[in-house]
Amino acid sequence: MQSSAFLDYVDPWVNWTWLESHVPLFVDALQQHLTLTAIAVAGGLALSLPLGIAAHRWRALRNPLLGFFGVVYTIPSLALFALLVPYTGLSIVTAEIGLIGYTVLILVRNLLIGLESVPPDVLDAADGMGYRPLARLAFVELPLALPAMFAGVRIATVTTIGLVTITALIGLGGLGQLINKGLIENFHTPLVVATALSIALALVADLTLVGLQRVAVPWSRDAPR
């Protein structure tokens, strides 16, 4: 049989012996992945709330804001990181500028949808009960916007979990670092295990958010998604 040497050795999908001796590698990667994702979503939310509320309050802001973050969303991560490295270095800051930038579009859009979906008669009732604008926003509009915001946070979280892998380019990347290792060393085990962990992480995070939403917004259980 004329088989070539590179086919003689078949790399198993998971080399359990190697995996057993490299568990800490995966634990560290998973922890970094979680950290990068949590900061990205938290930071995105912290930025989106004031921006979304402002765009809701002053309609003229809406299109420029969504347009701006729409453009940010299209910047290739490779280019973004290369541009940022001279200023913010190979740091978590560089990674988060990219990751937060990408989540803001999703979160602002969903916050706006949530705020716009508050029925006018509810607002009339709130006004009639004597709510000042700020109190009405905090106690009527934002709680009613929560289901849409939760939908946004879920999309942003799952997207970010996938996106974190690209920060391997600047030496971070969480599980992306191991996926990268598998690709460049032509070694299935880190590639397969890190990919499976990334998918599992996205599923667990999404289910956790669904659970949180059920607790925080019990009336929206059958709300349209």
Binding site: A5, A38, P86, P120, V122, F139, M149, W219
Partner: protein
């Protein structure tokens, strides 16, 4: 204030909206925001370790590109410097030079294992100044690095560059050691390389012009990829284009022929540092490493990482121990 904007959405669901609002008024909305904040701040703190002992001569950050050889070289440099008393931080598997070079210039990293010709052509923006002479190429590289506050040390004899290989059988049959040896017998041999080879100066035209080799035939394949390997295996090529430090060369029974007339650009391993980090002591340590490192070492080390899946730090440590850097 905002009434005018609330004229769409949820039409036909006013009943539901009323329920929502009445329920909502009884619930402390602050709690939702608190819960939301708690939800997104479950971030685990990412601690950085810095165990600079009392005798540390300073901290250096060693970077590497995203391929195994770069990690191995970064580990060898780093561990040798650690052996000398420096505290080392590693930033390995980074992207390409577009990411690593700015990080070096801005002081995020202190050194990375470079390659003379490739780095010269990066820093001179592809001006084509590199040639087959490692010392001359490195001198030109340094002329470009100077203004950036960077410096390249003495290039190693170890190279990772385009090279032409034959099987050990072919080597024995014709008694070959260098590319010049192919000139008299080229007419009996078939060359295999990427499809661009017949037009590239470093490939077929260069072999003809510099060495006077005229092959019997050319087979368009790839550069050191599965096609070239299969072609070597089934004997459809005699000479093939590979990378000189490929870890699979030994297991494939391939031998690189020495580029005795320096056709290929000199991609000798050379550490590139920030001038601020390139003290005489650091330079001495790294130059001593580069003086000992050979292309054969690179082939072995690459094979240990790429084929045997050993860790780069472990194979680097073993190499250093072989060369009397016990730790």
């Amino acid at each position: 204030m905002e009434e005018s904007s609330q004229t769409h959405c949820w039409t036909g669901q006013t009943q539901r909206g009323k329920e929502n609002s009445s329920m909502n008024l009884r619930i402390d909305s602050g709690r939702f925001l608190a819960a939301l904040a708690a939800l997104v701040f479950v971030a685990t703190a990412c601690g950085s370790t810095g165990n600079g002992g009392p005798t540390s001569k300073g901290t250096l950050t060693v970077a590497g590109f995203n391929f195994p050889e770069s990690s191995i070289l970064a580990e060898i440099y780093g561990q040798a410097l650690a052996h000398d008393g420096y505290t080392i931080t590693y930033k390995l598997l980074l992207g390409n030079r577009e990411v690593v070079a700015p990080a070096l210039e801005s002081g995020q990293i202190d050194l990375y294992p470079g390659y003379a010709a490739t780095d010269l052509e990066y820093y001179n923006k592809g001006a084509g100044e590199a040639n087959g002479d490692a010392a001359a190429t490195t001198a030109k590289l340094n002329s470009h690095l100077q203004a950036l506050g960077l410096t390249a040390l003495t290039p190693s004899a170890a190279v990772d560059q385009n090279a032409f290989a034959v099987t050990t059988d072919t080597q024995k049959k014709y008694n070959l050691t260098k590319l010049s040896d192919l000139a008299p017998i080229g007419g009996q041999l078939t060359l295999g390389a990427g499809p661009e080879c017949p037009t590239r100066p470093f490939c077929q035209p260069g072999l003809q012009k510099t060495y006077g080799i005229n092959f019997k035939a050319f087979k368009p394949l790839d550069t050191d990829g599965p096609l070239t390997r299969a072609a070597f295996k089934n004997g459809s090529i005699d000479v093939g284009l590979v990378f000189s430090s490929d870890g699979d060369l030994n297991s494939l029974s391939l031998v690189v022929l020495q580029d005795d007339k320096h056709l290929e650009n000199a991609d000798n391993v050379v550490p590139i540092l920030r001038q601020a980090a390139a003290s005489t002591e650091v330079a001495t340590v790294l130059n001593a490493i580069d003086a000992k490192l050979t292309t054969a070492d690179l082939i072995t080390l690459n094979s240990q990482v790429s084929s045997q899946h050993q860790d780069a730090d472990a194979v680097a440590k073993a190499w250093l121990q072989q060369h009397n850097y016990s730790s």
